[in-house]
Each structure stands twice: as C-alpha cells, then as structure tokens.
C-alpha cells in the first residue's frame, strides 16, 4: 500500500503546465437533440493537439499546426473534418452513425472497433439487463451472449450465482474449467462476480478465440469474461435513483403423499421385499393404523402433516435500491454509486414472539463504487477506482437443511409427529427410525439459531495514462496498480442440534414421554465462529504497458507491449499459505489497410510459480486475419444493401496454469498424519503425530495448452437492420494435468499429475438480430445460439476388458450406468435372467452387456449426456412505443442429462411423491412408470444405481426475464423538477417448460444433486427509477 500512495503523491507533484499563445478556436458541438459533452476535437497534422467538449458542448483549442482543420469525433457519430481557416467560432452538428461499425469493442488490455476486430468477441451492454430482478448479474447472460453457458444451481439467498463457462468445458480438470474473469483489469472469481451490482456495470464482453485470449496467455484457455464498470462523463452532475421490490416464489411447489398413502405403500414395499428374499411378511402398519390415517381422526396418535407447506412460505420478499451520481468536467470525471440488496428466504418465522432470533434464510449486500478520472495535465490522466461490497448471508443452524429434512422419509415422514403437542410443547419424531428420532423440525427452526456468513470485499485501483505524442504520435504509456481483498468469516448463534425440549404425547393415556436428550428447559444460545468458513483472499496486481495506435493515410498500425505481475494469496481456515505468483509479458501488433485487410499478432510470455524454474515460462502466440469484403470498391458498387461482410479467422495457442490443489504439486511433500490414524506406544495412549509419504512429485509439470482455431463471419444488411455473426471453433486442449490411470497400485503411493490429457471441443455460436422502426414504434428481435461438444481424445487409462468401458472418446463428464430394458414382468423372467440380488417382478431389467450372466460394473455403458448443456439458445424480443418499452428473453438449454439421487427420489429414503403412485404392481404391469416399491435402500432397482432409467435426457425452455416499463413524458417530469422517471414491472424465471415428470426438482440442478437443494425462485418485481 505504501508504494501505491507514494506513487500517487509522486504523480501529482509532477503535474506541469505549459501554455503557448496562438490562434484560438472556440466552438460548440451538438447533435439533433442538443449539446454534446465529451466530444473529441483534434487538430489535423498537429500531433497531440486536441481537447474535448465540456458539459455544455463547448470547447476551446489553440491551433498550432498549418492545416487549420479540426477533426471532430465521438463514439456513435460520424467523424467530421472542418476547415476553420480564418474562423474563431464554429458550430458543429454531428450526425449519428447508423452502422455501428465504429462501435468500440472491449478486448484484452484495450479496445478495438467493431469493423476492424478480427477475434471472436461477444458483448452486451449492462443497461439491457439492469432491470432483471436477480441479485447475480451472470444469471441472465445465457441466451443473450452467444458462447456463454451457465447453470443456476441454487435459489438460496446469497448462493444464487450461476456457474458459467465460455463455449462449454474442455479440460479433464474440473477445477480448471472456469473462465478468466477480469473486472476493470483486476482478476475476479465467479463468486466475486456474483457480488457485483448490475448498476455499476457498463459492459460484459466475452473473449472466445485464441487471438483475443492469447494476451492473457496462461490464463486464457477457458475464455475470458471482461466486465467494465461505469465511469463519469463530462456533463453536469446526474443523479439516478432506482428502487425495486419483488416477491420470490418457488419454481415449483413440492408435493408429497399423505400418511395413508405412505403407510399403505410401505406395507406394500415390505411385502415385495419379503417375497423377493423369501422371508415372512409382517405388516409394519396395522389396518387400524391405516384406518386412522384414512379418516384423519387421530391427529396426535396418527398425525398426517404436510411438512413442506407447514415449513415453507408461499412467497418471500426481495428488494434492490441504488443511487448513483455521475458527471464531470475536463479536469475531473466521477461516477459514484451505492446499492443495497435484500433477499429473504422462504421459511416461515417460527420464532416470532419467542424472543429468539429469526433463523430464516436471508441475504443482504451493500455495494459501493467510486470511479474517478483526473486529467492532471493535457497528456496525463489518472484514475482511482475504489469499490467494495459488504455481504451477509444467513441460514438456519441445522445439520441437515430444512428441505432435505422435509424430503427425508427417515427423518420426517408425514406421520412422524404432530405439528405441536396439545400442551404447546414441541413433539419429536416418535415414529421415525431410531437414529432419526429428532425433536420437531419446527422447534429446531424456531430455537436452534442461525449461521451467518459475512463477506467483505475491498478493491482499489490506481492508474495513470500518459500520452507520449512528444516521442511519437499515437504512443501512450499506462500503469495500473490494484489491490483486491476479500474476507469472509462465520458467526453462529446457535444451540446444539436437537438440544431443545421435546415430548411424545400419547393420546390414549394422555401422558408425555420425554425425548432422549433429557431436556426440560432451553439451554442458552452459544456464540461460535466456524473457522472452516473463514476465507481471506488477496490479489495484488501491477500492470504497465505502452500503447501505439496511428494511421498513416490508408495504413493503420497499432500495438501493445505489456508487463503484468500478479500475486494471489488464498487463505482458508486462518492459515495463509505462500502466494501464487504470476508474471507475464504481452504484446500485440496489428495492421489494417483501409479497414479492408486486417492482420493481428498477439502473444504472451508468462510465468507462474506453480511450476519449477525450467518449466515456469510459456509462450503463447496467436495470429488472426480478417477481410472486410464489403469495404472493397467493387463490392460497394455492386452490392449496396450489404454494409458489412467480414470474414475472419484466428489460430493460436493459449494456456491454463491451473493445478489441482493449487501450488507446488511438482514437489513430493510428506504429510503429517491425521490424529485418527494414530497408533501409540506405551501403557497410556499418547497422541503421537505421524509422517507419511505424500503423492509423488513431478518436476516436469507445466502448462495445460489449448490450440484454438476460430473462423467467423460478420454480416450487416438492410440498412443495418439485420445483422448476423457466426463463429465456428475447434479447440484441442493438450498437456492436461491428470493423474495416470494405467499405473499399478503395487507402486504403493499416490501418483503425480502429469501433462498427458487431451480433449477436443468444437462447435458453433452466433447471433442473428433484426431491429426496425415504424413511426414511433421500435422493435427488435435477436436470436443467439451456442453449440459446443467435447470429446476425450486421450486419457491415460488401462485397456479395459470391453470397449464400452473406455472413457477415451466420450464427452467429458458423461455418466455411465446400466441400460434398462424395461421392468421384469414375472418371477419366471427374473429367474431366467442374469442374477441380480433380490430382484423380483417389477424391478428394472438391466442389459447384460457382456453376456456373462452377471450384472456388474462391466455391463455399465455410457448413458445420456454430460450435465452441462451442449446447446444453449436464446431469443430476445424488444419493442418500444413512446414512453413504453417491453423486453423479453426466452432461454433454453438442450442436450444435457441429470439424475437425482438419495432422498430426492428413493422411496422410503425420501418421502413419497406422486410419481411413486405409478409404481409397478401386477395389476399395473403395463402402465407402470416406476419400478416396484422396495423398502431396502440398496434394492435391485435403487435410484442410487446408475442407469438410464433414472437419468433424464433433459431440456428446458425458460421465460428467463421480462421487463415492461413506462417512461413518463418530459412535460410531466419537468414540473416535478426531475429529468427522467420510469416505472417498470419485471420478472425472472417466470415460466419453465421441461420434458421430465420423474423429478420435482429444477432442471438446472446438478446431476446427483441432493433433494435439499434450495430451489431456484421465480421473481415478480416492481420498480421505479428517477433521474435528477
């Protein structure tokens, strides 16, 4: 830090100023709507002589050269040259540029223009998604940005951020699949992106091919997401306030069978099992029991509770509020923003009025950001960005999450206990299995307290840009120093699991029996901290670069040389390990002729301490080229209606320095043993430590590399109403660090990682959009598509006995399991078939693939598809008329698979769901859609056994976001002395169409995900936005 401060003081103290007296031109720049601040005014042929307009659109420039011509340019407008010979005051009206070809595209360490860009880049302006009511900005990018593939795994407040990938995944290292994320030149992780507030953000850009990611060298192989934040613009201070509130509702309400059904089916299941194993059947529930449940006439002796509805609310509240101020003069520009977000959980408040804390799930977050730009001198600008986030997420203190408990038959069948005892005391699960005779879930939610995770982040970035036109025009130097700190810690105010008084009430005798925890009174809450949750992450980063960009007539050349040094420290559980250090040199050199022929070289020479000295540095080059056919004179002459037709291609090598377990895997480390394995000598036990040999080292480990090829086409036509971008990509990822699979266990030690794996990922992505206007009616439609399919080319594995067991050739992460031929329809069929223990009629019939008469792992074949969608499609429709605007996004994911395990589906491990009523019985043999019931958890048809019966070949389409807004007419707002006012209603994940009925869970759930996953919530939202 001291260094950073010293640098700032130094730069400020060196602010020189110099004025020459010459001809002065004054002027004002406007467009059809009014004055334009921030327009760039340059004197032609006088190197480095220029200015920008102030907030009133005025400028003043002293001419130095001989051309007496000004170049007036602004993003989104056609550039004008104006002869000012003999004039002292001018008026300029700029025309808007309809083609958008000069639009700025963000790329690594800089920007380029849409027309001259040769890489595969997709971007979106944050203003398009700002009103989507989700706390995590990445949740709404899939379907809007081609190549962006994401899955939102949870709806729990504070954990709703979707995991995302760029063009799918292409490495066998599951931890090394995440894209690099750069927010204002600072590296973030996915968790941190989830904390950002949409209001602070200007653009999202994803870099997909070698030419754009090569500058990030060893970190670019998974693609790069670049987020830029909003900065102040010259103009009077603008205050913007927005507030929105909404309700969250579960995507789907769970439904469970009642006690009568459950008890009858349990008897049926045990009867089935007795038949299968040949033992005698003793009904667990008597006819008398069943009769009580049928008539619901004994609420205490034979309770029948719908726990899901007792515990969860129908809706939960959320709100988001932001205020920001931006503006600036020639000297200082500022953007200051702060935001507050609150998201409540869906548990009912059982502790109300008891003086106990509210233990509901909740998340709240404060965001703030200050982005400042100082024009210190004509040539030197400085920037200071300070941003921070304070987050707080709460969950009830329960060993097993409430939804898991509700799903679990063992813990909480519908007849486990009444909601409350008649005397107002809490009951316990008297009728559950012995180990799960837990005190009432309602009591535990009311009294067991909460766990809270605090998370504080602070990022500071200081930078300077110095125009070096005095050396040569077009040259500038930039430096950036940043520090990012991210700390989280846990606070728990709680009681030990199950330590609340609970009694079983026997209505026949009217007596109360105490729970085995022997508690009559409540123990005090305990304040603890969970060290495991403590995380402290620090990233310090230093960058310095030289930029060059100049046009000589028809020739445009540009270049970049950059030095980058990064130190990353990730401390968990209060232990701070040695840092991961990274150092890199990056260059870029590009050339274009009349924007027609484009050529660019990029490269990075990067080193990482994850590898030993000799392998520390890697060189990652890329080349790309483009041909703007529409810029050819012959084309312009003959095909006027096409304004852009660009062919581009790139090829290069990028890397990934990801190593499982982070650091120093090249060394063999001896492990101090865990105390549980202690063997001690002597008469009394003394805990002794042990030292064990750790995994072998491998001094040769080095980068994982990706050879990326991309061919793309950009097209615009019909007065730029129609545009199309499409890219084909082919990435071979090689030298992947994997553990060898062909080494015998008699080696007796863990194997080191070795650069062996090779995978291929290829596919298409792109976007077609159309926009037009009919009078005051604007409308647009856009369709995005992403297809990515991967395959394991080489993975060191032993030669399997059967070809279907080999993983090579399969997609990464594809499941294996039995191929189900149907249900056994009779005992004879079972007896005549390969042996499966305890199988009987109604069980799943697995294919005996190797025909050896035994069903075992050797019969397991690849089934379904990986869990990550291979196809993501999105359609955005937008329209506006006068003050009204309407936007809608449909997003669909296809070609992926998942299955649910454990209590989510297994009968009597999980509570029974309507799907279990369709079980196989001799009567329903032809119509059954579920195997015969069994009370044995590992029974022959158990969903825990992987087969294609339980694996859903899934797809879904979601109405991901809707936004209907109305901006009040200026005439009204002026009276209230405000400049803009807009109200809107919006929604998130409102409808879902999917293709499965077996499971009740959300289609974006992780495969084999547990039943306890907090479901994704849909949100209805109402908001107001006011600008002053």
């Amino acid at each position: 830090m001291k260094k950073i401060i010293a640098l700032i003081i130094l730069t400020w103290s060196l602010l020189p100023c110099l004025v020459f007296a010459q001809t002065t031109i004054r002027g004002i720049v406007k467009d059809h709507a009014g004055a334009l601040p921030g327009v760039s005014i340059l004197e032609k042929d006088a190197r480095g002589n220029g200015t920008t307009t102030n907030e009133k659109g005025e400028f003043q420039l002293i001419l130095k050269g001989n051309s007496k011509t000004l170049i007036i340019s602004n993003v989104g407008y056609l550039t004008q040259e104006m002869d000012v010979n003999g004039k002292t005051k001018i008026n300029v009206v700029l025309q808007e540029d309809a083609t958008g070809l000069d639009e700025v595209v963000v790329v690594g360490y800089g920007t380029t223009k849409k027309i001259t860009n040769t890489g595969a880049v997709s971007s979106i302006s944050a203003s398009e998604i700002r009103s989507t009511p989700t706390p995590n900005i990445q949740n709404t990018l899939a379907g809007r940005v081609p190549g962006f593939i994401s899955q939102q795994r949870s709806g729990q407040p504070g954990q709703t951020g979707a995991t995302f990938f760029i063009r799918g995944v292409n490495t066998l290292n599951s931890g090394g699949q995440a894209p690099l994320i750069i927010v204002d030149d600072v590296e973030y992780n996915q968790d941190q992106v989830a904390q950002l507030d949409a209001n602070e953000i200007e653009t999202f850009t994803i870099l997909k091919d070698a030419s754009t990611t090569a500058v990030y060298g060893v970190k670019g192989a998974n693609g790069v997401l670049i987020i830029t934040t909003r900065r102040g613009k010259i103009g009077r201070p603008k205050v913007n306030f927005s507030s929105e509130s909404g309700v969250q509702l579960p995507f789907k309400k769970y439904s469970f069978l009642g006690a009568f059904d459950v008890a009858s089916l349990y008897n049926e299941a045990t009867m089935n099992d007795a038949k299968a194993s040949g033992s005698t059947y003793v009904p667990t529930f008597s006819d008398d029991d069943l009769e009580h449940w049928r008539n619901k006439d004994d609420p205490y002796g034979h309770p029948d509770v719908d726990w899901y509805n007792e515990i969860f609310k129908n809706q939960a509240y959320q709100t988001r509020n932001n205020i920001d101020i931006s503006g600036g003069s020639e000297r200082v520009k500022y953007f200051v923003s702060t935001g507050y977000l609150f998201q409540n959980g869906m548990l009912r408040n059982f502790s109300k009025g008891t003086g106990q804390p509210d233990n509901n799930y909740a998340y709240q977050r404060y965001n703030f950001r200050t982005n400042l730009d100082f024009q210190a001198t004509k040539d030197l600008s400085l920037r200071l960005d300070v941003t921070g986030r304070i987050g707080e997420s709460t969950e009830p203190h329960m060993t097993t999450a409430p939804l898991s408990t509700v799903n679990s038959f063992q813990r909480l069948p519908p007849y486990a206990m009444p909601i409350m005892n008649p005397d107002g005391s809490y009951p316990f699960a008297y009728r559950s299995r012995d180990t799960y005779q837990e005190p009432s879930i309602i009591g535990r939610l009311a009294l067991q307290g909460y766990d809270r995770l605090y998370r504080n982040e602070l990022n500071i970035l200081v930078g300077g840009t110095h125009k070096l036109d005095f050396i040569t025009p077009g040259l500038s130097a930039k430096t950036r120093v940043s520090f990012a700190g991210d700390m989280s810690y846990n606070r728990s105010l709680s009681r030990t699991e199950g330590h609340i008084p609970a009694f079983y009430y026997n209505p026949e005798t009217g007596t109360y029996t105490q729970h085995k925890n022997q508690l009559y009174r409540l123990e005090p809450l305990t304040l603890t901290a969970d060290v495991d949750q403590n995380v402290s992450r620090k990233i310090s980063n230093i960058q310095a670069n030289l930029d060059y960009d100049r046009t000589f007539g028809n020739h445009h050349v540009y270049g970049l040389v950059l030095y980058n040094q990064n130190q990353y420290i990730n401390a968990v559980k209060n232990e701070e390990p040695a840092p991961v250090n990274f150092r890199g040199y990056t260059f870029r050199a590009g050339y274009d002729f009349k924007q027609r022929y484009l050529l660019e070289f990029d490269g990075a020479y990067n080193g990482s301490t994850r590898f030993v000295d000799k392998n520390q540095y890697g060189f990652f080059p890329a080349v790309s080229a483009g041909w703007n056919i529409a810029e050819e004179p012959w084309f312009k002459k003959n095909v006027e209606f096409i304004s852009l037709l660009k062919l581009r291609g790139s090829f290069g090598i990028v890397g990934s320095d990801y190593v499982t377990g982070d650091n120093y895997k090249f060394e063999q480390i001896y492990q101090a043993g865990a105390s549980s394995t202690n063997y001690s000598f002597g008469e009394s036990h003394n805990t002794t430590t042990t030292i064990e040999e750790g995994t072998l080292g491998n001094l040769d480990i080095t980068w994982e590399k990706s050879r990326k090829t991309d061919i793309g086409l950009d097209f615009q036509s019909l007065d730029n109403k129609l545009s199309l971008t499409v890219d084909y990509f082919h990435d071979v990822r090689y030298d992947q660090l994997i553990a060898r699979g062909s080494v015998l266990n008699i080696i007796g030690v863990g194997l080191p990682l070795i650069n062996l794996g090779r995978t291929l990922n290829k596919g298409w992505d792109g976007q077609i959009s159309y926009h037009d206007r009919a009078g005051e009616f604007d409308y647009s439609a856009s369709f995005t598509f992403s297809f990515a399919k991967n395959k394991i080319l080489y993975k060191d594995e032993a030669v399997q006995r059967y070809p279907w067991l080999a993983e090579t050739g399969r997609p990464i992460g594809q499941a294996t399991g039995y191929n189900v031929l149907g249900f056994f329809q009779s005992q004879e069929e079972v007896d005549g078939y390969a042996h499966v223990a305890n199988a009987t009629a109604g069980d799943l019939k697995y294919e005996d693939k190797n025909e050896d008469g035994v069903i075992d792992q050797l019969d397991m074949v690849p089934i379904g598809k990986p869990n990550l969608p291979q196809t993501v499609l999105g359609t955005t429709l937008g329209m506006s008329y006068k003050g009204f605007s309407f936007n809608i996004l449909f997003q669909g994911s296809f070609n992926y698979s998942y299955r649910i395990a454990s209590a989510g589906i297994i009968p009597f491990q999980g509570n029974l769901q309507p799907v279990h009523l369709n079980r196989w019985t001799p009567k329903t043999a032809t119509t059954a859609s579920y195997p015969r019931l069994s009370a044995v958890l590992a029974g022959p048809s158990s969903p825990n056994t992987s087969s294609n019966f339980w694996l859903i070949d899934a797809k879904y389409v979601r109405l991901k976001s809707v936004d209907l807004g109305y901006t009040f007419p200026n005439a009204w707002t002026k009276k209230l002395k405000i400049s803009t006012a807009r109200i809107f209603v919006s929604g998130y994940d409102l409808f879902t169409w999917s293709n499965f009925s077996l499971y009740q869970q959300d289609p974006e759930i992780a495969s084999s995900g547990s039943a306890g996953t907090y479901p994704v919530q849909k949100v209805y939202n109402l908001g107001l936005q006011i600008g002053f």
């Binding site: 010293a6 640098l7 130094l10 730069t11 060196l14 020189p16 194993s277 033992s279 003793v282 667990t284 009728r431 559950s432 299995r433 012995d434 300077g464 070096l468 130097a477 022997q518 310095a544 030095y563 040094q565 390990p577 040695a578 250090n581 301490t609 650091n663 120093y664 480390i669 001896y670 043993g673 394995t677 202690n678 063997y679 001690s680 000598f681 002597g682 008469e683 036990h685 805990t687 002794t688 430590t689 042990t690 030292i691 072998l696 080494v743 015998l744 266990n745 008699i746 080696i747 007796g748 030690v749 032993a798 399997q800 223990a837 035994v854 075992d856 792992q857 044995v936 958890l937 590992a938």
Partner: protein, 561 residues
C-alpha cells in the same frame, strides 16, 4: 525541460513496478515437510524417522467395526449385520468380485510395503547418537516385520502375490510383475521372521514399548503363516511336514515363556497391559465399540447405541454348558440341575457367552436386555434392530451397571496367546493325534477352558472326552477356536483355511424369537431367511482387483473371477 520531467515520472513508476514490493511473504511454502527433513542426518534422535515409522504401524489391521461399520465376522456364520444392505452383506450373498470387495486390502498393503521399503532404504542416512543405536536396530527390524505382516494380509486374501523385495518403485520402473506362488510368499515371510527375530525387542517389553513389534510377535506371525500354509486350503496333499513346521513355530512362541493366559477372560480385551496379548492395534480410549454394538434400546448420555452386529443362534449354541459339554448333551434334568434348559437357555453356560453375546436378560446399563418381541431392544416396526435376538457383547467395557459409557481401552487383538495355544494344539493333533489327556493337545484346550471358567469336573477334563479320535479332537479344537476367538477376525478365515466354508455358508442361519407371555418367555429358534451363498472354489480366495489386472497382463487372476 518539461519532457524530461515526464520521462522521470515514467522512469520512477516503471522502476517501482519492476523492483516489486518488499516481500511480505516467502516465495515457496516453507512449512511443508520434504524428504530431506525426514531423513535428516543430524536428527540424532531419529525423531522424524520415528514419526514415519508410526504411520506404518498405523496401517496394521484395525479390526472391530471396520467394514461399513460392521465386524468382519458378520460375514461368517457367527453373525449377520443388523442393517439391511450393509456392505458386509456382499460377502455372504455371492457379491464379492474383482470389481467390488469391501475388504480389499491390495492397495493398503502395498502402500504399507512401500513405506517399509522406503524406511529401510533411507534410514541409514540418519546418524543416531550412540546410545540409540540399539533402538535403531529395533526400528529396522520392526520395519522388516511390518513388511511381511502386510504380505500376510495379502496372501490370506489373494493367495500368492508379487513379492517386491526391497524395491521402492518409481514411475519409470516396470511394474508388470507376475505373481509369486503362495509357497514362495510363505517362505519369504518365514525367512524374514527368522532373520529379524533376534534383532527385535525381547518380551516382555517395558511398559513404554507396549504395541511395539517384539520377538514374540515375529514368531507368532511365523506360526500363523505356517499354519495357514499347512491348512487344507493350501495343503492339498496334507503334507505332514507342513504341519510339523507350523507346530514347531507355535512351540517357539510358547517356549519364549513370555506370555500366559490372563486369569480373567474379560481382562484380555479391555486392559492395555496384559500377559496374553502379543500384538494389538493400539488405539485411543473410546466408547465407539459400545455405541456401535450395544443393543439399540440403550442410551448413553444422549447417544443411542446402534447394535450393528446380530450374532447367530449357531454361535450361541456353540458355547457349551458350564460343565464344558455340548448343550444337546448336557441337558438339564432332575439329576442334572446345571445342565442346559431350553426354557432358560442362557443359564449355566460357558461364562464366555456372557462376555461375547448380549442375550435377553443380560444386565447392561442397569437393566436387562430386552430382545423379546416388543422389548426395548427389539421393538418391531421400522427401526433397525437385531435380526437374531442377540447383539455382540465382546470387547465392550463392563457397563452392567451405571447410566453412561466411559472411555475404554479398545485395542484390537491381532495376535494373542490363546490363539497360539490353539494353533499348537491344532498342528500337533494333525501330526500326533490327540494323545492322552495329559498330552499337550489336551492340556492347552483344558488351560483355555479353565481360564474361561468352565468347571473342571470330577475327571478334571473340563468337559472334554478322554480318548478322542483325531477327527473328533479336530472338531473340538475348531469349536474352541470359534468360542474363544469369536469376532476377532478368526472364524472368517478359519472356515476358509479349513475348506469348510461351502458347508458352513450354504445353509440357513438361525436366530431366536422370544415372545413374552406375561410372566414367562417363550423361546423359538427361527430361520433367518438371509441368503448365505458361498461359491466354491472361487470364493476361497478374493479376486485381485479388476483395475489392477487390466493394467498388468502378467498378473493372473484367481480362478473363477
């Protein structure tokens, strides 16, 4: 000039960047333990090498509820797992294969072998101070013992396995080794035991060295291995010479005169210091065995007991009466008031029964065990509860009274003297026959029965018939092993080495169904209906893991897999 100032700014800032900050953190993690640290020549106390040795000791067989919380003998005819679908069930429903084996020790044993070789290869680097040189010799010999102990664990399960010698493999070595024969492995183990026996500590050891490998331990292993080699499974032609070697080896242990039977049977399992245990897995004091195995109705503090193991009626019936006679024979009558009474079946029995099995009425935590139908320990309904009417009592502390368990010594007996005596008796019987009642075959059996608390009887034969035939004595010894060594991971291997598994397993096992008719209890033996399949000859050996066989074309799989 101004421009120079600008350059100065650039120069300063760039140099600042490149010189980088003062290091607040070291470049490399220095807290990690590397090989140099472990075999540091200046470590004259051998502290680090000793810590490494500790971790090898920790790989010794741990016993108890080790297979999915079940004891190995829940896969013999002595017990069944209480819970349905327990992984141990795979042993008895034909489910162990090359693909899945809940008791696969291939990887663990070879990991242990590697560690011992690593120790032997590197220990010379540590320069011990003079008065520790003898200690260093012990450590080296202990390592050599541990190495062959791991081989013993392997050959018990798989038959002959690849012998690695002293080699510590690297990735560039050829690992495609063929299997050595069973006899080669036995010879190797025996030769090693012989080679190291004089370099080990002498029994009895100082209290501070309890748990160390001693001369007695090495000799016991030698006896165990030779008896395994002489047993019908591995001695197809009944080569009497093999029995002879086994007998001599057992005699060597006895001749040490360092061990004896503890006066009280209950003391053997809950006392760290006793004369009978030759080697036990030294653990911290715990209540885990009580919690895992005591009947389900008992709550210690707020912890429910889990009753994982359900001993069979077959085991209970194997316990003789207090007079040492079989229950079928020594039936209670007017003239024989201490005989077996089917209406009060647990009275007047071999006292070891009370220390091996929880039966209905046995006192525990201040109340009698209730395994009658509807009793606290067999309530019926969906709760996981005994399948047989019994729970496992062996190894547990003495908690007949009191309200909660307290931490106990729970060291798994790997070798103990009673086993040695029975091994000797078994081998001698095969060679010389039972001999007279004063011959050692009889004497050792009598010694064990006497210690157990069986009444000597007027003939002082503890219920043993004089003049038993060789095969009748063989049965008597097998019965004694079953009763004395129940749940010590002996029966499971014994039925295999005697090659009787196919008859022991492939018939239904039994439990007791007790109904409470007001004042009287009605005992009814019932069949368990639990499939107990043993496919001979395949299941006499485990399969070598599939993952290993496919990697090595020279590794021949056992027959039938």
């Amino acid at each position: 000039m101004i421009h120079h100032n600008y350059l100065f700014f650039l120069f300063i800032s760039i140099s600042l960047l490149f010189s980088s900050c003062v290091k607040s953190l070291e470049d490399k993690p220095l807290e990690l333990i590397t090989e140099d640290y472990l075999w540091d020549s200046k470590d004259s106390l051998g502290t680090n090498a000793n810590l490494f040795l500790n971790s090898i000791y920790a790989k010794l067989p741990k016993g108890f509820n080790r297979i999915g919380n079940n004891v190995l003998d829940a896969a013999s005819d002595d017990a069944v797992p209480t819970e349905d679908g327990a992984s141990i069930s795979s042993f008895t429903n034909g489910g162990y294969s090359a693909l899945s084996n809940a008791d696969d020790s291939w990887q663990n044993s070879y990991a242990g072998i590697r560690m011992t070789n690593l120790f032997l290869q590197n220990f010379y680097k540590v320069h011990l101070k003079r008065d520790l040189l003898l200690e260093g010799q012990y450590w080296r010999a202990e390592n050599r013992f541990l190495r062959v102990m791991f081989y013993y664990e392997l050959i018990k399960r798989y038959g002959g396995v690849p012998l690695l010698g002293d080699q510590v493999f690297t990735l560039s070595d050829n690992l495609d080794l063929p299997r050595n024969t069973f006899d080669e492995c036995v010879d190797y183990i025996v030769a090693e035991c012989d080679a190291i026996k004089d370099s080990l500590r002498i029994d009895p050891v100082a209290t501070g060295d309890y748990g160390r490998i001693t001369r007695g331990v090495a000799l016991t292993l030698k006896a165990k291995v030779l008896l395994l080699a002489a047993s019908p499974l591995n001695n197809l032609n009944n080569d009497i010479d093999k029995w002879q070697r086994a007998k001599n080896a057992a005699a060597e242990v006895i001749a040490l005169n360092a061990f004896s039977l503890e006066p009280a049977f209950s003391n053997v399992f809950t006392t760290r210091s006793n004369k009978e245990v030759i080697l036990a897995y030294q653990r911290a004091l715990t209540t885990d065995l009580e919690v895992n195995n005591a009947p389900i109705g008992y709550v210690s503090g707020s912890t429910s007991s889990l009753g994982r193991t359900s001993p069979t009626q077959e085991l209970v019936d194997a316990f003789p009466t207090i007079r040492g006679r079989a229950i079928t024979e020594d039936v209670r009558s007017g003239s024989n008031p201490t005989g077996y009474d089917a209406t009060n079946p647990y009275a007047n029995r071999d006292p070891r029964l009370d220390l091996t099995v929880f039966y209905n009425g046995l006192l525990w935590l201040g109340r009698g065990v209730e395994t009658f139908d509807g009793g606290k320990d067999r309530p019926g309904g969906a709760a996981v509860q005994t399948k047989t009417g019994y729970y496992m009592r062996k190894f547990l502390g003495n908690f007949a009274t009191g309200t909660a368990y307290s931490n106990q010594t729970h060291n798994f007996p790997i070798f103990r003297y009673a086993d040695v005596l029975l091994m000797f008796a078994e081998a001698k019987n095969e060679i010389d026959g039972p001999g007279s009642v004063s011959d050692s075959v009889y004497t050792y059996l009598k010694a064990i029965r006497s210690r157990a608390g069986i009444m000597p009887g007027t003939d002082n034969n503890y219920g043993l018939d004089p003049n038993l035939s060789l095969s009748a004595m063989r049965e008597a010894i097998r019965l004694e092993r079953r009763v004395e060594l129940a749940f010590e991971e002996q029966r499971f291997w014994d039925v295999r080495r005697w090659k009787i598994a196919e008859t022991v397993y492939n018939k239904p096992l039994h439990g007791i169904r007790i109904t409470n008719n007001g004042s009287t209890l009605n005992y009814q033996v019932e069949s368990l209906n639990i499939p107990f399949q043993f496919v001979a000859p395949r299941m006499y050996r485990y399969a070598i893991p599939y993952s290993e066989v496919i990697k090595n074309p020279n590794l021949k799989q056992n027959e039938g897999y």
